[in-house]
């Protein structure tokens, strides 16, 4: 590991952190969870604001006593279940293999050039 006078030596974890494998894992994770979080929060607050301030619209009957508001509410359930399954499948298929491989390398000391705590 190279050292200069000004910079303290990098810890093994910093070496891992700077590795392209980890950077890819990290940016893929953030690119997935941040927009998804923004999406469901916006959809939730659109719903809350409509229920709170657009009573007439939400009370419009679609058929029988099933109103727009009820459908929007049930839509929150559907979107929550859908995001849950999409995320779980994505994380299982795309993230876990990469994370497991990195973890094995770190714990074997291959990346970062030394035994970690």
């Amino acid at each position: 590991m190279s050292e200069t006078l000004n910079e303290p030596p990098q810890t093994p974890y910093q070496v891992v952190q700077a590795s392209p494998e980890f950077q890819a894992l990290r940016s893929r994770f953030r690119r997935f969870v941040f927009p998804m979080t923004a999406l469901f929060l916006v959809w939730y607050f659109v719903y809350v604001l409509l229920a709170n301030y657009a009573h007439d619209f939400m009370s419009t009957k679609v058929w029988g006593n099933i109103t727009v508001g009820l459908l929007f509410g049930l839509g929150q359930f559907v979107s929550t279940f859908a995001i849950t399954m999409i995320y779980a499948r994505w994380a299982n298929d795309r993230q876990d293999p990469v994370a497991d491989e990195l973890r094995a390398k770190i714990e074997d000391g291959e990346l970062g050039g030394g035994e970690l705590a």
Partner: protein
């Protein structure tokens, strides 16, 4: 009105529904079965990881079921059913915030927390910040949330007793609260996290099955048409019943009540992922992948359960009727038990009552082990003893804390019995969303975040929540315009020191805590620790170095 419903009216006026002996018998059976399981599970309670985190040996589905058992408190079962029966759509709105909130936990918190911490929320927060002040703040916030939640549960137990066991005297109700508290102490003392988890699993299965059977029963009576169930509720409500169909009956009264609802909606959706007793459950599984499976299971179980409550709430409105529900001893909370009696008579009421009691027991047990762990692990072992303590000494302190918290809960429950403290649950969510969530997110995702930011955000969130609630109408000065009775915690209407109209602090305190975290970070001269952040980030995403299950 059917003959059965008239029977309920008569029964309600004599403050007696069903057969208390049956209710007590079924509950006693639940206690007996769970006690045997708790004693069997406790044999392997040797280390701190065993006692606090059940040896990290639960599977995702088991833990997910336990999370549902922990989360679906009496407030969400009895409270939401009753709210839908009386207020229709607005009661349903409440349950949606409780559900959507789980996505925050799933996407941003559960796995990263499992990978970086050991027992408590403070483990994660103190990972790269100055340990003692941050642990202290996190522990104080944990204890505050748990105490508010616990008090609400214990106070609710009194009302349930009145309804389900036919016990109306304050002293007799106090005895029952003490029995519930003593049972809870026994479970947690002996069983630790493992025993607590099994109680929650069994309770969740009973609760969801019971609610499922009742839902099918209600739907069958209305030709499996939700629209017909709602029509039944509208008809039973008489004049103005149409208001049950759309939003606004409860929260739409004024601009202020709408603002209150907005504040509540914000606290609900951001609070769950900051509730310490929820966070602690993620440590009971062997890996981040199992933590993810836990949340997936929890979301399905909780979501399906809330869909049941939609049918049950309108069903109670239709089959029992709002007047009977309001007139019953437990008030709004009696909607679900009265519906059970209407459908299946004494036996079904007995089952649902026992489940409701089991609910209080399981939730209170989960809260108690969380508080005890936080006190023993964060305050005692790491702040007072600076980590110089043997693990079994720490567990010993945790067990003593369990007894202390149990006694505190019993005394608090007896004093709060009959008090208007339902707001405490919403307050607990607001504190969790303000004092805990911003710091959890910043410390996981923001490299620059430091100790000063954490302390500003946690103390700022905690203090602003409490100050806002003390000077709000829920504590003093809210008067029912019709009857002139006080609707506040302080019943004396001549005492009025409320300064703001907002009944839930979330709308102010949550953004404030997020901003304080940024301001506190930026004004501090604390040297950053890039090496610590690197370790935290790598571990959080890969699981390297994370604690595994103990092998027995």
């Amino acid at each position: 009105m059917s003959a059965r419903a008239e029977g309920v009216v008569l029964a309600a006026t004599t403050e007696q529904v069903g057969e208390p002996a049956v209710n007590i018998g079924i509950f006693a059976l639940f206690v007996l079965v769970t006690l045997v399981i708790v004693f069997r599970a406790s044999r392997n309670n040797k280390t701190a990881a065993d006692y606090y985190a059940a040896g990290r040996s639960f599977t995702g589905p088991q833990n997910g079921t336990a999370i549902a058992g922990d989360y679906l408190s009496a407030a969400s079962f009895l409270g939401i059913c009753g709210a839908i029966a009386i207020n229709g759509y607005d009661g349903f709105l409440y349950s949606i915030g409780f559900l959507v909130a789980w996505l925050v936990a799933l996407l941003l918190v559960a796995e990263l927390l499992r990978n970086t911490g050991r027992f408590t929320m403070a483990d994660v927060l103190s990972f790269r910040l100055k340990e003692r002040p941050v642990r202290m703040a996190a522990a104080l916030s944990t204890l505050t949330v748990v105490f508010f939640y616990l008090l609400a549960q214990m106070a609710g137990a009194g009302g349930l007793v009145a309804l389900l066991l036919g016990i109306s005297g304050t002293a007799a109700q106090g005895v029952v609260i003490a029995v519930v508290g003593a049972l809870m102490i026994l479970y947690v003392l002996v069983g630790g996290m493992k025993g607590t988890t099994w109680v929650q699993i069994i309770k969740a299965v009973l609760l969801i099955l019971g609610a499922g059977v009742m839902t099918l029963w209600v739907l069958a009576k209305f030709g499996f048409s939700l629209s017909a169930v709602i029509q039944g509720a509208v008809d039973a409500a008489g004049e103005g019943g149409e208001a049950l169909i759309g939003p606004g009956k409860q929260y739409g009264a004024s601009a202020l009540s709408q603002l209150n609802f907005l504040s509540l909606a914000l606290a609900l959706v951001l609070g769950t992922a900051g509730l310490p007793h929820v966070l602690m459950r993620f440590y009971t599984v062997p890996s981040a992948k199992e933590a993810r499976r836990s949340v997936v299971w929890a979301i399905w179980l909780i979501g399906i359960f809330y869909l049941f409550t939609l049918v049950l709430g309108y069903g109670a409105g239709a089959l029992v009727g709002p007047d009977v529900i309001k007139g019953a001893p437990g008030g709004v909370n009696s909607a679900a038990p009265l519906l059970a009696y209407e459908l299946g008579g004494t036996i079904l009421l007995g089952v649902i009552s026992a489940v409701a009691f089991a609910t209080i027991l399981a939730v209170v047990a989960g809260l108690t082990i969380t508080a005890a762990t936080s006190f023993a692990h964060d305050i005692y072992a790491n702040v007072i003893k600076k980590g110089q303590i043997r693990p079994d000494g720490e567990v010993r302190v945790a067990r003593i804390t369990v007894v202390a918290i149990g006694l505190l809960a019993i005394i608090g429950g007896i004093f709060a019995n009959g008090q208007n403290v339902a707001f405490l649950v919403a307050l607990a969510f607001a504190v969790a969303a303000s004092a805990n969530l911003p710091t959890i997110l910043y410390s996981l995702f923001w490299k620059r975040f430091n100790t000063s930011g954490a302390l500003w955000s946690m103390y700022g969130g905690l203090i602003s929540c409490i100050v806002l609630i003390v000077f709000s109408p829920v504590v003093s000065g809210k008067v029912d315009p019709v009857t002139g009775d006080s609707l506040s915690m302080i019943r004396d209407t001549s005492i009025d020191f409320h300064l703001i109209g907002l009944e839930n602090p979330g709308l102010i305190s949550i953004p404030l805590a997020f901003v304080l975290g940024i301001v506190g970070t930026l004004i501090s001269r604390e040297k950053p620790h890039p090496e610590k952040f690197a370790e935290m980030e790598v571990r959080s995403l890969t699981g390297a170095g994370a604690e595994k299950a103990t092998v027995h």
